[in-house]
Amino acid sequence: MTELAANDPLPKPKRDLAPILLPIALALAMIPLVGSTSSWVTLTVASLAMGMMIFIMASGLTLVFGLMDVLNFGHGAFIAVGAYIGTLILLPFAAAMQADSLLANLAVLVPAILLAMAVSGALGLVVERVLILPVYGQHLKQILMTTGGLIVAEQTMYAIWGPAIIPLPLPASLRGSFILGDVAIAKYRVLAMLVGLAVFIAIQLVLNRSKIGLLIRAGVENREMVEALGYRIRRLFLGVFMTGSALAGLGGVMWALYREQVHASMSDDLTVLIFIVVIIGGLGSIGGCFIGAILVAMVANYGGFLVPKLALVSNILLMVAILMWRPRGLYAVTSR
């Protein structure tokens, strides 16, 4: 074995920039293919906004996957529940939402988001205790339990809110676009990007600057050793699961406003995208999840514009390509 001599400097860890450069390269490569600059800017902003919303919904799931080794196929239920709970405040106060005052809009929107996150997080507590706890370490049972939970949750939502799609208009101050030359950038997409970025920075700060964050990062890598150091990782699991559920609830409200509608199956298509993001990002990697979400959104938007017939399979092709390049995802954190 080669040992470093006492005075040899330790080789510095190489910064793995390739995944970060990937979406930038993809966006630049699309300029000549898209042709019009304004269309390219619109598609790119749409991709970033969609990517941020998918990231918000997927970030909790990647930690749940990475830290807890739990295959939660019911994650989408938290998205739909968040959206429905949001309507409980957004619809009765529709007049304030449609007022031409940003403050009045936010006075309704912020409590709606907070309530959606609180209820989704609380639902996460129940799901973890009732459905997940008995099947830790048993993947097949986890799939059955969480898929069953998703079906029950969807049918419960149909029973409570009915099968009809509920329209959810954007607040007045978030409708329309910022016009920069001949480029129009939707205001809501800018907000989505800012919220996604804020969530990403907040998660990074917690993971890198707090002892809880250290425990989560350590637990993703080696749960057993964290326990051997005297930490009750089950409590950490529960906290992460609830946070992931609450973030899914936040993503649910944002996605519902983006699509301006809510229905019980709204998360079905999203769930596929979220799983692709979590897999290509690398299980447990927040950075990988962030880049993966942007890539998935870019492929969906650019692909839909350039080759609409391939739109449905484009993200599966992206996943295949990424996994052929890096079989454990863009940033491998766990050995799974």
């Binding site: 074995m1 080669t2 040992e3 470093l4 006492a6 330790l10 080789p11 510095k12 860890p13 002892k211 250290l214 425990l215 990062r217 350590a218 993703v220 890598e221 080696n222 057993e224 050793m225 964290v226 326990e227 051997a228 150091l229 005297g230 930490y231 009750r232 990782i233 954190v333």
Partner: protein, 240 residues
């Protein structure tokens, strides 16, 4: 001399395999007890069972008079047991500092204790802010041991610390463990390296097929070449 750790009739099953088949052992307070034996004899399983990482299927495990066989791993760690696994299990994505911050469960890192650790393992000071994954094998082992001793522990369970390390690093580790011993630590140490075992051990337990087949003083085993050959299949002279 009181017994800090006592195992009575401990059996451990892993799946359908019956690994520990009625282990009886004691680890006296303030002493170093070596656990020797060929590969697959059940040494690592013994440590993992004590640590609660694998549940004993029957038998009693007592730490300082308190039954622990049904306790969870975090509870056992909080009773004052430090564990250094065979795989080292440093958190490679975390820095050296972050690894030790996590190990200092009861509060901030103690500067005096850190200086004491750095006295043995200067590399840890030098690479304080480097990712543990970029350390060499020997440095990772140093970090793994440092993690177990960064706060005072009643009992240290150490699994093959010299495995796969260069001779110079092995000697440094032996010196460190001797110093830890001198400070009064109680250690149960699994070791394949008979030289290290002779240097460190007060008592010895030899395992085979999931049972203890020999117990006695380490010095007596080190002096008895035929016994070494019978129990371990090699002599100290052959090992050196």
């Amino acid at each position: 001399m009181t017994d800090l750790l006592k195992l009575s009739g401990v059996h451990t099953h892993i799946g359908r395999y019956h690994i520990l088949q009625g282990i009886d052992l004691v680890v006296p307070q303030g002493q170093t007890t070596m656990l020797l034996g060929r590969n697959g004899a059940g040494k690592t399983t013994s440590l993992r069972t004590i640590m609660g990482l694998w549940q004993a299927s029957s038998g009693e495990i007592t730490l300082a008079g308190e039954r622990i066989e049904a306790r969870t791993t975090p509870d056992i760690a909080r009773l004052g047991v430090g564990y250094v696994p065979e795989s080292m299990a440093v958190f490679s994505d975390l820095t050296v500092k972050e690894n030790l911050v996590l190990a200092a469960r009861d509060g901030p890192l103690d500067d005096k204790q850190l200086d004491w650790i750095f006295g043995f393992f200067p590399a840890l000071r030098r690479f304080w802010l480097s990712r543990a994954g970029s350390l060499s094998g020997g440095q990772k082992q140093m970090l793994s041991i440092a993690r177990a001793i960064v706060e005072p522990r009643k009992l240290l369970l150490i699994d093959e610390p010299t495995k796969g390390l260069a001779p110079a690093i092995v000697m440094a580790l032996i010196e460190c463990l001797k110093e830890i011993k001198r400070k009064g630590a109680t250690i149960l140490l699994v070791e394949q390296n008979f030289f290290a075992a002779r240097e460190l051990g007060d008592h010895v337990l030899v395992m085979d097929n999931g049972t203890i087949v020999h117990r006695g003083e380490m010095a007596a085993l080190a002096a008895d070449v035929p016994l070494q050959e019978r129990l371990l299949g090699l002599s100290l002279e052959a090992h050196q």
